[in-house]
């Protein structure tokens, strides 16, 4: 993929010099809708990805996901608790307003206000101090090496515009009238929103006043949501659209065989894994009474070794997955190579079960979404079949995500015994994984709210606290490795794989498929 984008860049450099202005329109479709243009209402990949073409953060991420300067030219840690950001000068919002430190301070305040879904972008106790028009200090209560990791999707809004249009309050679902910022956008990014009808069509136009040199050659981008998989693929095959995503894995071959289109595939950052209730004294859905088999590491390891991950990769995922041994994408952790999956070995698994006192196996209920992850229900069915081979009978309850999450998350009192879940750390950093999935929690979910199984290991908790404030990268990675090692040794989770990305692209379009599944128009060239 990287080579592709370099080729694209080179082609553009040679072509760009003398070529006449040619109006290029990119038409693309995604399965979901862009509901709202307010950049703080929904912390969800597609919304943030789309708005990232219009708005910009202080930082941004490049095609390889490396953090780059964007609205901030550079930054430094002047004192351990004080970060200084030097803002880019001569940046203008789409309406012509100047971008200044005031806008940054305003955006921080707004992103932390009630109704915002991105409050975690800036620590609640952080203070913003304006040094001058183009310098801003963030004063923290303690060292935080990953303060700016998620700022590529913390978009800066124009204070003047927002106040003028009475949109300071983040659009809330309980409002009776639409917020101006929900229907209009005014960013600094490479594209402006030309027209937007939620759920129908959004048209973007090139921003001629962008501060950076464009590497794309687009003038207009048209987005249509197409929810039906077959229709989305058909629209690409018929040449009506230049790009559609995602495409079902079973259609990859068809798109590659078709002249004029190609399927771009690559690993996504999302880790799919299995979790088990390790908190209750008796499982909610099992024939084992009076005790909880998942409290025994041998049972968890038996489950782990019963799973033929290569089989899932070939049969269910059609090779569009990367088996995983840890709970984060290997892209995002330098020492990921140190981990290896427990080998697939049904006999060893059976022996482990017998050792734990379940020679005849047992019955357990499994919860699974059927419209959230790539082939989620099929993975669960495969897992159930594999566990049947070691004597464990799985009662599968696969349901739509709306019902699944209502059941298994804190709001449903973690009503599950055995489940499949996927996780992408928004910060692209391990601390997010540890603090959300691997720390202890109480019954209400305080602690790690997404540790649905509720296992509790004090060592991981204390490591997580250390990792949060450790600024030396080498040492920090060592601590993270320790935490993952503990989880691996105890088989607290059974990681399955990184699911794959599959985009359908017309041959005359060059683009970058980022592993975080964000589609950035600035990487696109159309010939």
């Amino acid at each position: 993929m990287k080579t592709k984008s370099i080729v694209a860049a080179a082609a553009l450099l040679t072509a760009g010099a003398g070529s006449a202005v040619q109006a290029e329109t990119l038409k693309f479709a995604f399965q979901g809708t862009l509901n709202n243009l307010d950049p703080y209402t929904l912390n969800e990949t597609f919304t943030l990805s789309s708005l990232g073409n219009v708005y910009e953060g202080l930082t941004r991420r490049g095609s390889d996901l490396a953090i780059e300067p964007a609205l901030a030219e550079r930054w430094e840690i002047v004192e351990p608790n004080r970060w200084r950001f030097y803002l880019r000068k001569d940046v203008k919002f789409h309406n012509g307003n100047d971008f200044t430190a005031e806008d940054v301070a305003f955006s921080v305040e707004r992103v932390q206000s009630e109704g915002s879904d991105l409050t975690t972008r800036v620590p609640a106790d952080a203070k913003v101090e304006i040094v001058d028009d183009h310098t801003v200090d963030f004063v923290l209560s303690g060292p935080n090496p990953i303060l700016h990791y998620e700022w590529d999707t913390f978009y800066i809004m124009d204070k003047e515009w927002t106040v003028e249009n009475d949109a300071v309050k983040v659009t809330s679902a309980s409002d009776s009238t639409a917020n101006f910022a929900a229907l209009n956008a005014n960013g600094t990014g490479p594209f402006k929103v030309d027209s937007h009808e939620a759920g129908v069509k959004t048209v973007y136009a090139k921003n001629d006043g962008w501060w950076d040199t464009p590497t794309h050659n687009l003038d207009t981008v048209e987005f249509t949501p197409i929810s039906s998989d077959a229709t989305r693929v058909a629209a690409l095959l018929s040449g009506e659209l230049d790009m559609v995503y995602p495409i079902p894995v079973q259609d990859i071959k068809r798109i590659n065989d078709n002249a004029g289109t190609v399927a771009l595939t690559g690993p996504e950052l999302r880790t799919i894994f299995l979790g088990m209730d390790q908190m209750r004294d008796e499982l909610l859905y099992s024939d084992v009474k009076g005790k909880n088999p998942f409290k025994d590491a041998k049972v968890r390891k038996a489950f782990y070794q019963a799973i033929d991950i290569e089989g899932i990769k070939k049969k269910v995922m059609r090779d569009l997955s990367t088996p995983s041994a840890i709970m984060i994408s290997p892209f995002l952790f330098s020492k990921a190579g140190a981990f290896e999956r427990y080998p697939y070995d049904p006999d060893a698994a059976k022996a482990l079960l017998a050792e734990a006192g379940y020679a005849d196996g047992f019955t357990v209920g499994m919860d699974c979404p059927n419209d959230r992850y790539v082939n989620d229900e099929a993975i669960c069915q495969a897992v159930a079949a594999m566990l049947a081979r070691i004597g464990v009978k799985v009662d599968l309850n696969a349901q739509p995500k709306a019902k699944y999450f209502a059941k298994v998350l804190a709001s449903g009192n973690f009503d599950t015994s055995f489940y499949l879940l996927g996780w992408t750390p928004g910060s692209l950093d391990s601390w997010n994984v540890l603090s959300n999935l691997m720390n202890c929690r109480d019954e209400a979910g305080t602690g790690s709210p997404f540790n649905l199984g509720g296992f509790c290991d004090e060592k991981i908790d204390s490591l997580t606290k250390e990792i949060l404030v450790e600024v030396d990268p080498e040492k920090r990675d060592g601590l993270i490795e320790n935490a993952y090692q503990i989880s691996h040794d105890n088989a607290y989770y059974v990681p399955l794989h990184q699911q794959g990305l599959a985009w359908g692209v017309a041959d005359n379009v060059e683009l970058v498929q980022r592993a975080d599944n964000q589609f950035k128009f600035r990487f696109v060239t159309k010939n």
Binding site: D38, S174, G199, I226, T231, S238, E240, A402, K403
Partner: protein
């Protein structure tokens, strides 16, 4: 007359209330709307706060009362997904659905009636048999399958017609958009209208055929022939006219069904109408949109039925006999 009308009206209101109650209780089982409104990393406290703001923690009876009293004033609240008033969203989507429904109904009539007449008059001819078998396909194949079949034939293979959307639309007045005035808009209408109208076309064709076969055997047709009238006159002036009465009733009722059940067709063709919005709302547990849609649909049927009831009162003198 007034008594009859008010009784019917009272019944209609009760039906609407029952539908509202059913719809409202059903939403308890669709899932948790909060999860669809926030990102996965949103904290439990923030989720709770949102739940409180939306009034989802109130007793069901309170929520139902609030919903009904607002709905009576045509205020359906704010969509959870779009954060826009539901009534505005519907107003934007209604033109797309109505244009599609009307075109499908016209297609069903214009194609169905001649096919029915032909099959009724020439019951033994091979073309009639072909019509009948084709119409069997229309009844037995599911809509989404027909839609996808048409897309792959006419969009992907032949590349004649677009596979999704409405094409270019023209704004008329403050809120109506039409696809009737542009070439791409008209082209975009063809496949979805056929998909949506195929079932009704089949229905009309079979109805007309059966009525035709019946009417042709009647004495007045025989008499007309005996008078030496040309076939054209016998078939179209005398026979067809009499077959049309049930057809008109059915078509009227089916129009409601077309509008209400365009959901599948709209989803397959990404037709930006109300049905598509409803299905997306179901996936995202957008309760305000779902409830508004169900109420609107119920209202449509109740209104059509009410009008038909009233018409019968005028048409059928027997209803009036013995009533003051």
């Amino acid at each position: 007359m007034i008594g009859f009308a008010t009784r019917r009206l009272l019944q209609a209101v009760i039906v609407m209330l029952v539908v509202a109650l059913l719809a409202f209780t059903m939403f308890r089982f669709v899932g948790d709307p909060i999860n669809q409104m926030v990102g996965i990393e949103t904290s439990i406290e923030e989720r709770e706060a949102l739940r409180e703001r939306l009034g989802l923690n109130d007793p069901i009876a309170v929520q139902f009362y609030r919903f009904i009293s607002k709905a009576a004033r045509f205020d359906f609240g704010t969509s959870y997904q779009f954060r826009q008033p539901v009534s505005e969203l519907f107003a934007k989507r209604i033109p797309a659905t109505l244009e599609l429904s009307l075109t499908s109904a016209l297609f069903a009539l214009i194609v169905g009636i001649p096919m029915g007449i032909y099959a009724g008059l020439n019951r033994e001819s091979p073309i009639s048999k072909l019509f009948l078998s084709v119409s069997l396909v229309g009844i037995s194949l599911p809509t989404f399958f027909i839609g996808i079949l048409l897309i792959f034939l006419f969009s992907v293979t032949l590349q004649w017609l677009p596979s999704f959307g409405r094409g270019e639309t023209v704004q008329i007045g403050s809120w109506w958009t039409t696809g009737f005035l542009t070439v791409s808009g008209l082209k975009a209408l063809i496949l979805p209208s056929i998909t949506l109208g195929l079932y009704q076309m089949t229905l009309i064709m079979r109805l007309i055929r059966a009525e035709m076969l019946e009417v042709i055997r009647t004495d007045y047709i025989k008499f007309a022939r005996a008078r030496g009238l040309p076939d054209r006159l016998v078939h179209f002036r005398h026979a067809l006219k009499n077959t049309l009465v049930p057809v008109i009733t059915i078509t009227g009722l089916q129009l409601g069904a077309i509008i209400a059940f365009a959901t599948i067709t709209e989803t397959v063709f990404q037709w930006p109408g109300m049905g598509l919005m409803f299905l997306q709302a179901v996936q995202n547990v957008d309760i305000p949109i779902m409830s508004a849609y169900l109420l609107l649909t119920a209202f449509l049927f109740v209104a059509i039925n009410y009008i038909v009831d009233m018409l019968y009162f005028f048409i059928d003198p027997r209803l009036r006999v013995g009533r003051p």
